[in-house]
């Protein structure tokens, strides 16, 4: 039990996916543009909405990968 607990609390390389989420979401120069627009929606808006979905998928991946 104790050994398993220690493993659970340890660092996992999968957490790097969280770092990617953070860096992209917090770096406005990356997405502060109008083109390419999607169905008339400027890049600034559709990219951040897309990033919500990507981030949720990343979090789900981390959940399954670290869930033993």
């Amino acid at each position: 039990m104790n050994g398993e607990s220690r493993k659970r609390s340890a660092w996992s390389w999968w957490y790097l996916l969280f770092v990617v989420q953070f860096v992209v979401a917090l770096w406005p120069p990356l997405y502060n543009r109008i083109e390419p627009s999607l169905m008339g929606i400027p890049f600034f808006y559709w990219f951040q909405l897309l990033w919500v979905i990507v981030s949720a998928v990343f979090t789900a991946i981390v959940y399954f990968a670290t869930n033993d």
């Binding site: 979401a25 627009s37 959940y63 869930n67």
Partner: protein, 515 residues
């Protein structure tokens, strides 16, 4: 003001009646002994993944959010979208940090952040600082929820003078207070399910119907002035709107789950798994919030703010009237009734949870710590029920007698204050390295500096920090929590060397923080 919209009002009242019944019936849901504080104030820690999703969703994405974020997009443009990166990056924090807090709090029966800090650092004054900050930051937040109700009641065309003008708000308030008192956290948890379904229906219908009415997204965005469409590109020697946008998102994310009501939502979950699953599922609300932010642009494109029938509403409620006016303009009355009920009920859920969270804090970390050290379980639960009434009464008086402007400004300051509890609460979940008196000194410095900087910035959230000829505009909360942390780090070895009491009793062990 426009005439009373009877169809919308009838549907609004029926839905309010439904949730009133639900709120009282909730006392019998997953039945527990409501004379125990953790049953009343945490729903007995019995909520699984799905109920936690509804509860935290109803808690974090409040009615005020649904009114204020589109209002900001309408008034200020692209910067309002910071709510999206903000609510993206909170979930890794929930996944990592708050899962640990859930485990330790569940093992030791902690129901507040104050309980945890008291146990972790063994310093009741540090716990008091965390507690008082939590209560003070929550009060204006509750008041703003009542503003959300006020706006939709006004938009239904109900107006009057004197007491009659405030009567609908008073009725909503009495309903809220009564079911919170009798059912505790089970009431907002059950109502949140209804509220979220209504909100999702409204948002989906609006995001499909309104762009069609307006001739497509091309036409909508063509109507937005260029300076509102994206962030202004920073000039030389400043990070301009970029650093402001990123720090607003980052600081708001760090602050969010330090608020007592957010932590209450987390701690009421039945397992650490439920927390981690929710970290992946809660972005569903973020996506909807992003869509709702676009409503601000729909308002501009539809020119609703220029229509004479809504002039009175905009005059009375400012930009907060933008979303209600858009809904009135775009939908038949029966649907407006549903949408407004979603917003009104959406205000009751977080207001209930906030008042419960504040009551838990007072009862556990002030009354029990400093006044009556050995209450019976029943006395403790009863105290919390009374305090929840007092807290809501305070918020009501505030909103009736003090201009809304002050509630908004206090809520802004509240975000700067609550983030100062980050070192003991969030870092405390990982380490007890800090000297508790150093943490207290850091908290005091961050709180004072944050308040001063916010006042200097004329009560706007961002402060133009000037360093080596460069200007870095950024969210005051982020700058001051860095100061707070720096002081805590520097003073920890100093205080330890001086022999100031160093966390003599850490009641928790390393194994308490995971399954």
């Amino acid at each position: 003001m426009q005439d009373v919209n009877w169809i919308a009002l009838s549907i609004f009242v029926v839905l309010f009646g439904l949730i009133t019944w639900l709120g009282f019936a909730a006392a019998h849901w997953r039945k527990g002994d409501l004379d125990l504080l953790h049953e009343w104030g945490l729903g007995g820690r019995r909520f699984g993944t799905l109920i936690t999703w509804f509860l935290v969703g109803g808690d974090v994405y409040t009615a005020y959010t649904f009114i204020a974020v589109p209002a900001l997009a309408f008034g200020a443009g692209a910067v309002a979208f910071f709510a999206v990166p903000y609510t993206i990056i909170i979930y890794p924090l929930v996944f990592l940090v708050f899962r640990r807090l859930w485990y330790v709090c569940s093992k030791h029966g902690y129901i507040t952040a104050g309980d945890f800090v008291r146990g972790r650092f063994g310093n009741r004054w540090l716990a008091l600082a965390v507690t008082v900050t939590g209560i003070v930051a929550t009060m204006p937040y509750i008041a703003l929820q009542l503003v959300g109700i006020q706006v939709v009641i006004g938009a239904l065309g109900i107006s009057g003078t004197g007491l009659a003008a405030d009567l609908p708000l008073l009725i909503a308030f009495v309903i809220l207070a009564a079911f919170t008192y009798s059912s505790g956290l089970r009431a907002p948890a059950s109502i949140a399910i209804v509220k979220d379904i209504l909100i999702y229906v409204t948002a989906l219908a609006a995001i499909i119907v309104i762009p069609i009415e307006l001739g497509g997204f091309h036409k909508i965005f063509a109507a937005i002035p260029p300076q509102k469409l994206i962030l202004a590109v920073p000039g030389p020697n400043t990070t301009g709107s970029y650093s402001a946008y990123a720090t607003l998102a980052f600081g708001s994310a760090l602050a969010l789950f330090l608020y007592p009501h957010s932590l209450t939502g987390i701690l009421s979950a039945s397992s650490g798994h439920a927390i981690r699953r929710n970290a992946a599922m809660l972005p569903g609300y973020t996506f909807m919030l992003g869509l709702l932010a676009l409503f601000g642009f729909f308002v501009i494109a539809a020119g609703v703010d220029k229509l004479p029938e809504y002039a009175g509403g905009f005059k009375q409620f400012g930009n907060n009237f933008a979303v209600p006016a858009l809904l009135l303009h775009s939908f038949p009355s029966w649907f407006v009734g549903i949408a407004f009920a979603a917003i009104g009920i959406g205000a009751l859920v977080p207001a209930a949870i906030m008042s419960i969270a504040a009551a838990n804090l007072y009862t556990r970390n002030i009354h029990r710590e400093f006044i009556n050290k050995n209450p019976t379980d029943k006395q403790e639960a009863q105290m919390a029920k009374w305090v929840s009434l007092v807290v809501k009464g305070g918020a009501l008086i505030f909103i009736l007698f003090v201009p809304t402007k002050y509630a908004i400004e206090l809520q802004l300051l509240g975000g700067i204050w609550i983030i100062q509890t980050l070192p003991p609460v969030m870092l405390g979940a990982y380490t007890r390295w800090f000297n508790s008196w150093a943490l207290l000194a850091g908290w005091a410095a961050g709180t004072v500096a944050g308040t001063a900087m916010a006042v200097a910035a004329k009560l706007t959230p961002t402060f133009p920090l000037s360093l080596a000829g460069h200007i870095f505009p950024g969210y005051t909360a982020v700058y001051t929590v860095i100061l707070n942390l720096g002081i805590a780090i520097v003073l920890t070895p100093v205080f330890n060397a001086l022999g100031a009491r160093r966390a003599p009793l850490d009641a928790t062990t390393a194994a308490d923080y995971y399954a």
